[in-house]
Symmetry: C2
Subunit: 225 residues, 2 copies
C-alpha cells in the first residue's frame, strides 16, 4: 500500500487528480478511488434462482430509479464477476427480487460478494433466509424490511466497458406499513435501510429534511411530516 500512496503523492497537488494520474495508479487503488467518487449509493440484495432450483443472492450498489409509469428500475451487472450468476438467472427465468439491507445484517450482505461454487446458494453460505411469495420463482430475503419483486424487461450492453444495464419492472412491493406517508413517500430511514460508498463502506442515515416541489419564483420550504 505504501507504494500506491507514493505514486499518488508524486502527482497529487492538494487533492487534484487528472485522468493521467488515475490511469497511472495501481489497479486496486484506482478501483477503490473511482468507486468512491459517485457519492452514496443504493444498497440492495438481488435474489434470483436458476432453472435447476439453486437460489442466488448478490449485493449491488447500482440500483437506479428509471420511471414510475410504468414502475421501472435499472442496475448494472459486470458479466466477468460473481454477478454473472445474477445475470444468467434473470435471463433464464425472467424474475428477480430487490431487497434493502439493514444494519443488523450488513456483514452477511457484503459476504454475498465472495466467490461461492455454482451449486452453493449464498442464502445458506452467509446465513440469510429465503422467502417465497406471490407465486414468484425468485426468492425474497426474509430479513429485509423493504422488498420488491420484479420482472426482466430489457438488457442494455454498455459498449464502453462491457458492463450490462438490466431494466426491470416492479410487480410487487413490501414495505413496513408505518413507513408510508400520505403523499406516497416511504421513509427509508425509519425502515432501517442503510447506504454505502466506495466498494466496502457502509453508512446509516439521519434525516435532514424533505423539501417542497421547486418553483422558479421562490425557494423551497421544508415539508412537515
Amino acid at each position: 500500500m505504501r507504494l500506491d500512496l507514493d505514486i499518488w503523492h508524486m502527482t497529487n497537488h492538494n487533492g487534484i487528480f487528472s485522468l493521467n494520474d488515475i490511469l497511472k495508479a495501481e489497479s486496486r487503488f484506482r478501483t477503490t478511488f473511482i468507486n468512491s467518487l459517485g457519492g452514496f449509493k443504493s444498497l440492495a440484495l438481488i435474489g434470483t434462482r436458476n432453472k435447476k432450483g439453486v437460489t442466488n443472492l448478490a449485493v449491488f450498489n447500482s440500483v437506479v430509479h428509471l420511471g414510475a409509469s410504468p414502475p421501472l428500475i435499472g442496475f448494472i451487472v459486470r458479466p466477468d464477476s460473481v454477478e454473472r450468476h445474477t445475470l444468467s438467472n434473470i435471463l433464464e427465468t425472467g424474475e428477480l427480487t430487490i431487497n434493502h439491507v439493514q444494519e443488523d445484517f450488513f456483514e452477511r450482505a457484503h459476504q454475498t460478494s465472495a466467490r461461492y461454487p455454482d451449486d452453493v446458494s449464498e442464502f445458506d453460505a452467509v446465513g440469510l433466509t429465503e422467502e417465497f411469495r406471490f407465486g414468484m420463482y425468485a426468492p425474497f430475503v426474509k430479513e429485509s424490511s423493504v422488498k420488491i419483486g420484479a420482472a426482466f424487461r430489457q438488457r442494455i450492453d454498455i459498449a464502453e466497458n462491457g458492463t450490462v444495464m438490466i431494466v426491470v419492472k416492479i410487480k410487487y412491493v413490501c414495505v413496513p406499513e408505518n413507513t408510508i406517508q400520505p403523499d406516497g413517500y416511504v421513509d427509508l430511514h425509519k425502515a432501517g435501510t442503510i447506504t454505502c460508498s466506495g466498494i466496502d463502506s457502509y453508512h446509516r442515515t439521519e434525516p435532514i429534511a424533505r423539501l417542497t416541489y421547486a418553483k422558479a419564483d421562490r425557494m423551497p420550504d421544508i415539508i412537515k411530516s
Copy 2:
C-alpha cells in the same frame, strides 16, 4: 391527498402492493412512492454550458459507477423535463461536471430543479458559484467539496420509457486531500457529501464500518482506518 390515501387503503394489506395497486394510484402519489423504493441515492449537481455561453446546473440522483478502467460514470436523464438542458448542452459541447452536495447548500441544490427560462443560469438563480478549471468549458460548483470534470462518451436510449443514460469518462477529480485514505478510499462522510431518497428527502450519513474483501472461507472483518 386524502383521496390518494383512501385508494391505497382499499388495496393495501399490511404494506403489500401489487403492480395493479401501483397503476391505480394517483400519478404524483405513484411518482413519490416508486422513487422511494430504490434506496438511498447519490446526489450530484451536474454543471454544463451551451455554445452561447449560458451555464446550466441541475440536481441528479441517478449517478452510478460503471467502471474504474477506464473511469466511467453513468446517469439517467429525462428528456421531457428540466433535465433536457443538461442533455442538450452535453451533446453540444461534450463536457460536464459532477459536483457533490453538502448540507450547507442542499436547498439551493434542490432549487435547481425549478423551471427557469432558457437564458437564465441556475447558478445565478439559486445562488451557487461557477468555477472554471483545467481549461474545461463546463462550470464546476465552487461550493462543492468533491467535484469531477468529465467528457461525454455514449448516449443510450432506454426504449422502455424514453429515458436516456449518459455515459461519461472522468477527466479531472478534486477531493479534499484529508479525505483520501492510503488504499484509495475517499471518505465522503468526512467530505460532507449527503444522500437523498425519494424525490425530495435529504439525509446526512454516519459511518457504520468498512469491511474487508469477501472470501468464501470466512466472514469479513472490519477495516480499521
